[in-house]
């Protein structure tokens, strides 16, 4: 079942990234994470040929004794980063511009699965919270292998969204429930009252969490490149209005961009990472962009 979500190719791409060191430096590791090489749970990963100039302390002399070659040991470092992925499963997330494209909720599922896989591969604890106007599912953060399957199972069973987006109050609930000082990864289109969302996010920050928001949008929501008169129906409220998009395009874009900029600015003020994503953004680029950004925040 998980194979339908997370393909081996994607896993391989993520696996080649050197993400662990960066996460450690950013201080999300609790306790011994001050130094990446002095954690209390260091696991051997592989051998690498010694490069002259490196400290000699890492040379594995036993191997030298057997093979007469210098090798150094590479350790995979274990962290206790507690990450919780919040996936917005409200009605607006089911929007897709046409039948062949991915909806925002589908994209969020894939991205959440990818992130879970990545984080578990780093031995980090990963949890999942599916929210709309209420908490739909909750998987507490754990760093065990089978956690992946637990998360993927919940992601597979996201119910057909029927609710309006009102994640603000739910964010408060989640913030109360989660232990302090973790990483919150929010996958949402944030189509809710900006004040309520910000209020929830502030609660996370107050509880010592680092927050990353993957702002998921469909390119059509940004460009509004529809042609011809049509009756537009709101996925959340069911309201509809008959308009000619060509007449409103410019004005819509202005309003929309104004809203996005407002969100971005407020998040910057709260020291929250805000990553613009669209459903056609490749996963690897999305994740790498995020991780690089984290690295720059060091």
């Amino acid at each position: 079942m998980s194979q339908s979500i997370l393909t081996p190719d994607q896993v391989a791409k993520l696996g080649n990234l050197d993400v662990i060191a960066r996460l450690v430096v950013e201080g999300f590791l609790v306790g011994l994470h001050r130094s990446p090489y002095h954690g209390f749970s260091v696991e051997f990963a592989e051998y690498r040929q010694y490069i002259p100039g490196e400290p000699a302390t890492n040379i594995d002399w036993r191997v030298f004794g057997k093979s007469d070659r210098y090798y150094t040991k590479i350790y995979a470092e274990e962290t206790n980063l507690r990450a919780t992925i919040l996936v917005d499963a409200s009605s607006s997330m089911s929007f897709k511009s046409d039948e062949n494209t991915t909806s925002k909720i589908e994209y969020a599922r894939l991205l959440a699965a990818s992130l879970t896989y990545l984080l578990l591969k780093q031995n980090d604890a990963v949890g999942l919270e599916l929210v709309s106007d209420k908490q739909l599912a909750s998987v507490p953060a754990r760093a065990v292998r089978k956690q992946l399957f637990q998360v993927l199972k919940e992601l597979d069973y996201i119910p057909e969204p029927k609710s309006t987006t009102s994640i603000g109050p739910v964010l408060h609930k989640v913030a109360e429930k989660l232990p302090r000082r973790g990483l919150i990864i929010l996958l949402s289109d944030l189509m809710d009252d900006p004040d309520e969302i910000m209020s929830g996010l502030k609660h996370f920050r107050y509880r010592g969490h680092e927050v990353v928001i993957f702002h998921l949008l469909n390119p059509q929501e940004i460009e509004f490149d529809y042609r011809g008169e049509a009756r537009f129906e709101d996925l959340e409220t069911g309201n509809n209005m008959k308009i000619d998009p060509t007449h409103l395009r410019t004005s819509y874009r202005e309003k929309f961009e104004q809203w996005r900029t407002g969100l971005r600015e407020e998040c910057r003020g709260l020291k929250i990472d805000f990553v613009d994503m669209t459903v056609d953004t490749p996963f690897d680029r999305a994740l790498m962009a995020y991780l690089r950004k984290r690295a720059r925040m060091r």
């Binding site: 289109d189 008959k242 819509y252």
Partner: protein, 687 residues
């Protein structure tokens, strides 16, 4: 029909305009449904836009429909018909060619009349084969140029070019009246009427024009205007002495002029020689009265001319007149018997007052007067006459018929009934003569009411002397419609005047008494009587000048043998024209009738080698004074008169020829279509 179409079937393509309408309606019904994440931003963007968008869409629809209709219209190749256009092929064109005096105005080297003839001839040549044409020249009278409808073509066009203008004024109602007859006789119907004119019309009464148009069963009028600015420099009228003039008497002749330039010189000529000059000091186009003081020449009729250097219209630069100078006035004084009672014998005061060079008074008692005495007198005065015989009364009536005048002094209270019921009735005055009661016979002052010819140019001091005189009245005149020239203080008339036939009668309803302090003792009495007599005996009258286009007549005291008229034009380069005259009788007076004279000049009535008299004929002042109607003014005039469709073209405007022969409209419609499409594109892009 305003348009003709080369491909009328293409007009059905205009039904294609329904296509955008249908598409619009279909689109309105079939709207696709789009699920969208949130309408929040759309709602914000939608504010204030929906209404303007709706209007714009409607405008777009209309523009698209208009473009299709215009395309269909252009494909049908419409053509605006010209004045010489018709759709049936055969054609009857009735040309009304203005030949009035103002058409002689020179415009860029050619007269307006010449332009009019050329235009009419051009139209005649361009008419379709087998078309017929008739030309009516439009002046004071309307004359047909061809004997009947003639075939249009080169020969009739050449004939039109031979037309000459007159000195009369254009009589539009008469022209339309004439049109009716020719329309009925036309072979092809409907007949088109084409008026070629400078649009200067004298229309004193628009109802006459309406009546004339009403009789015509044509409601379309085509007109070609030929004009620029009105010509100035005209002599509009001549004012002759109001009282009889004797040789060597200083007289002033006045003229109303409208100069072309400030400081324009005007001259007065008598019998061909310059007598006086005057300079106009007003701005061009403004009327001014000029005075020409001269000394009266020897007795007789003198032809005079007030003239100026010619401007663009020579015809109205000279105005002829005839100055009559009499050797003396033969006055016949008819009085009642003297029988010594009060009120009798006063006629002698009049005889005395009229003594002098001017008057030659013959006094006769009523019973001694013969009809011949009255016929040979220049002026007849009746002073308290006894009852007159029927023959004498008839003779007195004849005096007024031939333009003579009578002076009546009636104060005998014993004869009031006769005067009221017989004498005054015969002379056209229905009034009541009432004796004034003795208690009311106080002396009264006079007031001059009407400063007519008798009192004109009387010095103020003389008037004061006259009005200070004290007058005893015995008769009051009531219920009279005559003009009160002078009044007593009580308001009853002291001097009345009225017209009878073509003569003038003055009544003084009082006695000439030998009473001290009465009127006869007033210093002004002789002057007053002389003035009254001279006014009545006047041979000069501005009314004697006839306008070109009017009937010219001359009254005869005796029957002449065979008479004729020689018209001497004012403009020297025109030849002398001889015209026959008819003798007709009017109220027992022989009248020599030269008929309508449509050229300005002097009409010499001659019999054999004798000159009977001369009548000046002039260009009607309306030809100089009336404004030239603009296109819009003419259109309004014609529409008010009853024409439903009036097309007007100016001969000197660009596009005249295309207007005459019609105009292809397709290029213009296509241009309009392109503009429509460009606008549609612009709106669609903005939408």
């Amino acid at each position: 029909m305003p348009f003709t179409f080369l491909n009328p079937m293409m007009l059905f393509a205009a039904l294609g305009a329904a296509v955008p309408l249908i598409l619009h309606l279909i689109n309105m019904r079939k709207t696709k449904r789009v699920f969208f994440s949130s309408l929040h931003f759309l709602e914000e963007a939608q504010v204030n836009r929906s209404r303007s968008i709706g209007l714009r869409r409607l405008l777009l629809l209309l523009l698209r429909m208009l473009a299709i209709i215009l395309l269909a219209l252009a494909a049908a190749a419409p053509r605006l018909p010209g004045l010489s256009d018709n759709t049936t092929g055969k054609y009857s064109l009735l040309v009304l060619l203005d030949s009035s005096a103002s058409m002689q105005t020179v415009e860029e080297g050619e007269t307006r009349f010449s332009y009019a003839c050329t235009t009419a001839a051009d139209i005649c040549r361009t008419l379709p084969n087998d078309s017929e044409i008739q030309v009516l020249t439009l002046s004071s009278t309307v004359n047909e140029f061809f004997a009947g409808w003639v075939t249009a073509g080169e020969s009739s066009a050449d004939a039109i070019l031979q037309l000459t203008p007159t000195d009369g004024s254009a009589n539009l109602p008469a022209a339309f009246k004439q049109c009716r007859k020719w329309v009925e006789q036309a072979e092809n119907h409907p007949v088109d009427i084409l008026l070629v004119s400078d649009m200067q019309f004298s229309l004193s009464d628009s109802t006459i024009l309406k009546e004339a148009v009403k009789e015509l069963d044509i409601r379309t009028l085509n007109a070609i205007t030929i004009k620029s600015e009105p010509a100035d420099g005209a002599v509009l009228s001549v004012g002759l002495p109001l009282r009889a003039v004797v040789p060597d008497q200083p007289v002033t002749i006045t003229a109303m002029v409208s100069p072309a330039v400030k400081g324009q010189k005007y001259r007065l000529e008598l019998d061909g020689s310059l007598k006086a000059q005057a300079v106009a000091t007003v701005a061009p186009g403004v009327a001014q009265q000029l005075a020409f003081p001269i000394t009266a020449p020897k007795a007789g009729s003198h032809k005079g001319l007030i003239a100026s250097d010619s401007d663009r219209l020579r015809a109205d630069d000279s105005r002829p007149f005839v100055l009559e100078v009499c050797k003396s006035i033969n006055l016949l004084l008819i009085h009642g018997q003297d029988y010594g009672t009060a009120g009798r014998g006063g006629w002698r005061y009049l005889e005395t007052a009229l003594g002098g060079d001017l008057f030659n008074v013959t006094a006769l008692p009523s019973d001694k007067v013969a009809a011949g005495d009255i016929a040979t007198a220049d002026l007849v005065a009746l002073v308290d006459p006894d009852p007159l015989g029927r023959q004498i009364l008839t003779e007195l009536e004849k005096v007024t018929t031939r333009g003579g005048s009578l002076l009546l002094l009636l104060g005998d209270t014993n004869r009031l009934s006769y005067y009221q019921n017989t004498l005054l009735k015969t002379l056209g005055q229905e009034c009541e003569l009432v004796p004034v009661a003795r208690s009311e016979q106080g002396r009264e002052n006079l007031t001059v009411n009407n400063y007519g010819p008798v009192f004109t140019d009387l010095p103020e001091a003389a008037l004061e002397v006259l009005e200070a005189s004290i007058w005893r009245r015995y008769i009051d005149v009531k219920n009279s419609d005559a003009t009160f020239e002078m009044e007593f203080g009580s308001g009853s008339p002291a001097m009345l005047s009225w017209s009878q036939n073509s003569g003038q009668i003055i009544l003084l309803p009082f006695n000439l008494n030998n009473a001290e302090n009465d009127i006869e003792a007033n210093a002004m009495f002789p002057v007053l009587m002389q003035r009254i007599a001279a006014t009545l005996a006047v041979g000069n009258s501005s009314d004697s000048i006839r306008n070109a286009g009017e009937i010219v007549t001359f009254p005869l005291a005796e029957i002449a043998g065979s008479a004729s008229v020689l018209l001497e034009p004012i403009v020297n380069d025109k030849p002398l024209i001889s015209m026959p005259v008819n003798l007709r009788w009017q109220n027992g007076i022989g009248i020599l009738d030269a008929g309508i004279v449509d050229q300005a000049g002097f009409c010499w009535f001659v019999a054999g080698t004798d000159t009977l008299g001369v009548v000046p004929v002039t260009v009607p002042s309306s030809e100089s004074r009336n404004p030239l109607l603009s296109k819009a003014e003419f259109q309004k005039l014609a529409t008010d008169a009853g024409f439903e469709r009036v097309s007007t073209l100016s001969v000197n405007e660009t596009g005249f020829i295309s207007g005459l022969s019609g105009r292809e409209m397709a290029p213009w419609i296509l241009l309009l279509c392109v503009i429509t499409l460009l606008f549609e594109g612009y709106l669609a892009r903005r939408a």
